[in-house]
Symmetry: D2
Subunit: 407 residues, 4 copies
């Protein structure tokens, strides 16, 4: 496996010889060209580019500079790729670096991005997760261990200018509806901290002014945070510019559906082994708007779950209309309350939902006025039996430990 993108983790993202960028722009030059059928390795920094330390303070999570993220490796060009093609990307492997056997999970502060349960958990928190081969454990969240489902949180092809403009327009329109909201509704282009790969000079400055931020998933894929894009999966990405321009990063050792803590997965540096090919004119042939993918034959086979239902009535008792977000929020809150009965703190329980291979299902979405969502919590990841029984729950979790706080 040829290493196409080789990084030096002791250097900053902008010192990596132009192999990294943190904005989406059609003019980003390819950092390398490959042929259809090629297999190669791409190294990636963690999404923050090294802002978070393996320590017991959440100060760094509180202070993350979101204008910097996400640091992506690429773009990589595929010979012959043209707009309208599908780029077929097989994720042959995802791996960790031998000297970096840990990752982090952050609950972001309300003032800095927030998260899915920001009202209940408005303060920055952090947990560090150590890797033990296929498994991970955390000194901040005891009595739980699970197998990782490693994947890139963020991967996709460069947008065309037209697509970029569309993104900026529609997201700007949204921001304009409530420009002072905290957390903000969306992140507009912002040249601060922009790293534009191999662009330089005026071109880079101009591109930084209009380059799309990397936070949301969009038509091209991007920051989909789909835990199932793991080793062995196969993704079909729309191509928008000549050569395609595939970029990737935001590697996760594991993540739960929804990535609900925002910095939600177990974030890590690592590498991807990739094989690329093309389906010419595939976008039209298959009627593709967003990427589609096939899952891997190699994923953790947890199957013994406690499943929590949630409906779209909020904590204040207000009835919302077929709102899956609210239903899933309630399912998550229900799961947290349940886990607390065994001795977890709320923040620990929340971290488990963000990092462990929990599943989030849209169960019923037509039965007015309530949507019903289900959160599937695998019971095998705990080292105690956490199913209900006639005796009721006991405190089984080691006490006196919590996720790292700010100081």
């Amino acid at each position: 496996m040829k290493t196409l993108v080789k990084l030096d983790l002791d250097k900053k993202p902008w010192e990596q010889e132009g192999q990294i960028h943190n904005r989406w722009h059609p003019d980003l030059p390819m950092i390398a060209m490959v042929k259809p059928g090629d297999e190669f390795r791409v190294e990636c920094m963690d999404w923050t580019g090294g802002q978070i330390g393996n320590n017991d303070s959440a100060n760094d999570v509180r202070d993350v500079d979101l204008t910097q993220v996400h640091y992506l490796s690429g773009p990589i060009g595929v010979e012959g790729a043209e707009p309208g093609d599908l780029m077929v990307v097989e994720i042959l492997d995802v791996g960790t670096f031998e000297d970096s056997q840990w990752g982090f999970n952050g609950i972001f502060a309300k003032e800095n991005g927030g998260g899915f349960l920001v009202d209940q958990y408005p303060e920055a928190r952090k947990s560090i997760w150590d890797f033990h081969g296929i498994y991970t454990t955390s000194r901040h969240v005891p009595n739980v261990r699970f197998a990782g489902i490693m994947h890139p949180g963020l991967i996709g092809c460069l947008p065309s200018k037209e697509l970029l403009d569309k993104w900026n327009k529609r997201e700007g329109d949204l921001i304009a509806t409530e420009p002072d909201r905290v957390p903000e509704l969306a992140l507009p282009p912002n040249p601060k901290s922009a790293v534009m790969g191999k662009m330089s000079g005026e071109a880079a400055k101009k591109a930084a002014l209009e380059g799309a931020r990397t936070v949301p998933p969009r038509e091209h894929g991007g920051n989909c945070d789909i835990k199932n894009l793991t080793k062995g999966s196969k993704v079909y990405f729309p191509v928008y510019v000549k050569d395609g321009g595939l970029s990737m990063g935001d590697l996760h050792f594991s993540q739960g559906d929804g990535e609900i803590t925002f910095c939600g997965a177990i974030e890590m540096a690592g590498y991807l082994d990739i094989k690329v090919s093309l389906i010419k004119d595939g976008v039209k042939k298959y009627g593709i708007k967003n990427p589609i993918f096939e899952p891997s034959v190699l994923t953790p086979t947890y199957k013994d779950y406690i499943i929590f239902e949630g409906i779209s009535v909020n904590e204040q008792g207000k009835q919302l209309y077929l709102d899956v977000n609210e239903a899933y929020r309630q399912a998550c809150l229900n799961a947290i309350e349940y886990m607390k009965k065994f001795g977890y703190t709320g923040a620990q329980a929340l971290s488990i939902l963000g990092t462990a291979p929990v599943e989030g299902h849209i169960s019923g979405i037509v039965d007015i006025p309530n949507a019903c969502a289900t959160l599937w919590l695998p019971t095998e990841i705990f080292d105690f039996d956490m199913k209900p029984n006639a005796d009721g729950p006991k405190v089984m979790v080691k006490q006196g430990i919590d996720t790292a706080k700010t100081s």
Copy 2:
């Protein structure tokens, strides 16, 4: 297995000796009492009580009287059950009636309930599904066959008066925000067509005026339409009234996550084999708000999927804020477009999404402003290869057939 509720399918719901009701009310008398540990069989009508025929016209779907639904069997009391307990319900089996080896899927008209894709599919449609042991096929949707994951769409315990009042209040408040909407935002109490089980006279009339409609899932479970409540699963329901009062119905032969066609599953008459027990004071012990459950060891093991992503930008290009409903709608629309390339009509493809064991996952829900949802379509259910390849799709589906229309 003792049959506790024995129906005569040739009779109307209100002719079943008081064993059926179609409103939730605390005063509904128990139709039978069982002991913790008992196992018993409960027969159920289809949710419409026989309004839909095994024929090739969607007129009956168009004309379904929604004031009638859902017809539930029960309530069944459990000796010793008190408010605050958890009623543990093991679904030992779900079965069909030997002389009723078919079910129906309906796309509801915009004027009569609508559905998840009501804008694209505003007209009533119907498909009939024949059962072949564990499998089902439809004369209206060719080239597809799948194993059922039979389950009750609707099951739960009677609400207390206090809970009923809360439901009526919050749903009324929602309706009041847009009282003339089509389809309506929620369904208020309506004495028309109310069937109140063993209640009669003035008490029945009064209860019908305030009894909650059965359409939405609520705190007690109810119409959750969770396909995974299948034979072998175990559900923990909160108890709100003395004896609990467990009712059930709306049996499905199969359903996709979301039940997106509204009458969305393969609806059928059939029976449930149930075992009940109690966890005294379990609501408080385990911090339960909504039911929780454990899945079955016996569910179809489809694992080869095409997965469609959707983000919360609507067809008009409008950016919505972290809206999972919209993201899932887009994923569904993407899947339909894809299936059309192989020769399905849109309505057929929609019916497949409603009936087959598709999975709907909440994948990313924090990456502002886009939620990302994924629709998992099992490829093994088709009798042709529907994965993308370099040659592009071919029409593989038998042409000249469609879901039944209205006349």
Copy 3:
């Protein structure tokens, strides 16, 4: 589903209007003809034809008359089937009779057939298993419950005269090597108790003299006792006579790989729903000697196992050469010793291996002189944690109970 074979379980096998036979012979008349594509139901007696009772004595197991078994329903002809075709048999469903919700497991006495561990367990024993929907439990084997994987132990097409002669010749040759062995090496044709379906008079007598016994699996399938021929599977049987002649019986609610107690599964009466079709000349086209099959998408998904290794060194320490039987015997004995530590008697543990969905794998078969076999025991079927830990095992099984003995 049309019922093609309808039995009266209160009658004897030979009183079932010629729908049952217990020998394999090419001249058995078809009891019904179907067309390719037809679906139909076939009812079956338990393999002994009702010799075993739902009681607490093993006398009936001790006294089973093996000249009677197995009672099969059929043969059913398929129009157009000719020698050399493959008959495609889809097992659409397997079901129990509503008024016969139990089955039995027998350890056969050394004098009457014996079993895989006959040296350790030479006496007749019985356990009765009650059905609870998809699950089963036994009053003779406490603290264990599992989902059934219902299947016909015995199914296949009639042999040709030529094939029958081959069977009788080769099995006779084997018997001749040790004619007085107990248990016997094989069972020769024996007219005693022969039931020859719709044959009568001299023809029946003659056929009974040469008809093959039903005990072993052979080229046509027959008594394969493969637990995976469950509802949803698809089997391809060689056809040897005009119309094929499909017969079936020996239904099991559940069975472990190997069926090691001989009457080894949970034996029951019940029905099969079947769909048949043909692959003309399929035997030659696909190079088929024995049946092949595709598994079901619907089987219990136990996945948490304790796995026991065995090698081909017997209890006396004698080294055998690459002997999988011995290796599997040792793995079984190892599992039994392990289970005893939690309080099971040996006979109970043996019954669990015979009935529960244990897997038997041929792991290594070339590493001279030891074969290595593994027995996979699902841990989820026990209501206590039976994995090893630092504290050692505790007696968790209810004491004072055992499998039924003879009196």
Copy 4:
């Protein structure tokens, strides 16, 4: 992860600073000591110590010097381990070396070990398998690709002197029954090519004369060739000497049940990440004779199989008595004939059975006189549809290619 055993693959096994041995002997000195709870990495050579090249000739397979094998890394001591304890070994990870992304599969010649189908395939053959992340393909066996289930073929603790003597006695007794057989019945101690780790001088010479060969699995585990000892599994090994002495090697990228080609898996160099702990006096507490293990949550999830039955009648039509080896041999031969219909050569088909994740089940083992074994061939590993259909098979495999032969 600390690397406890660090090898130089450019050197010979006996040049690795005493970290490697190829005989089992109680006096082998520990090469390192660890504490219970420690995690560490162990590098391993391929089982032949580099005798096989990545080329297109089977000469090296033909000429393998079996007195050399298997080269094991260890023994590693665990502080506090005493005879009678169980050493708990968690296989946290199994990995390949970045500069050695290939493995080999060999069919051994009759004169040099042979294999399971030695009569049909008596000549040496070789196939080279390239690794692509989690997948492997071979230039010698086209149209097939599968995910590896990496595992050590050989792992276990040192025997005591008493156990060693028992092995040598019983295997010697077997050899004595047919001392001139080709292939031989078992491999006696042989000082030729013995590598005795950190032993030297007279002690090493003496130990080499009595040290057990590594080929068979035995009570301590050893060369079990169980494909399921993959990353994420947990094994409990009996301890026979002070400190235990855990050794391992014979790494496989993938293997089918039975490892039927003898050099049957995809053999490779690589590393194991291991965690060890102890259950004091566990052998007696749990009644352990052979190792037991728990499978991983992370294994390839192939589930769509063609399953081949075999019975214990050999190719000459001779009836054997309940002989699972013969039944499995017949199932394997049946599978090979079937694969040939799609264009594979026999040797290619055999290589697939040896390398791919096929399952070998002991299905029925009591139905005298025929054992029934089943071979499960995953259909998803082929890039064409290989299930039977009415049209019959077509040659789908690229022609003109075969496994490498001798010259």
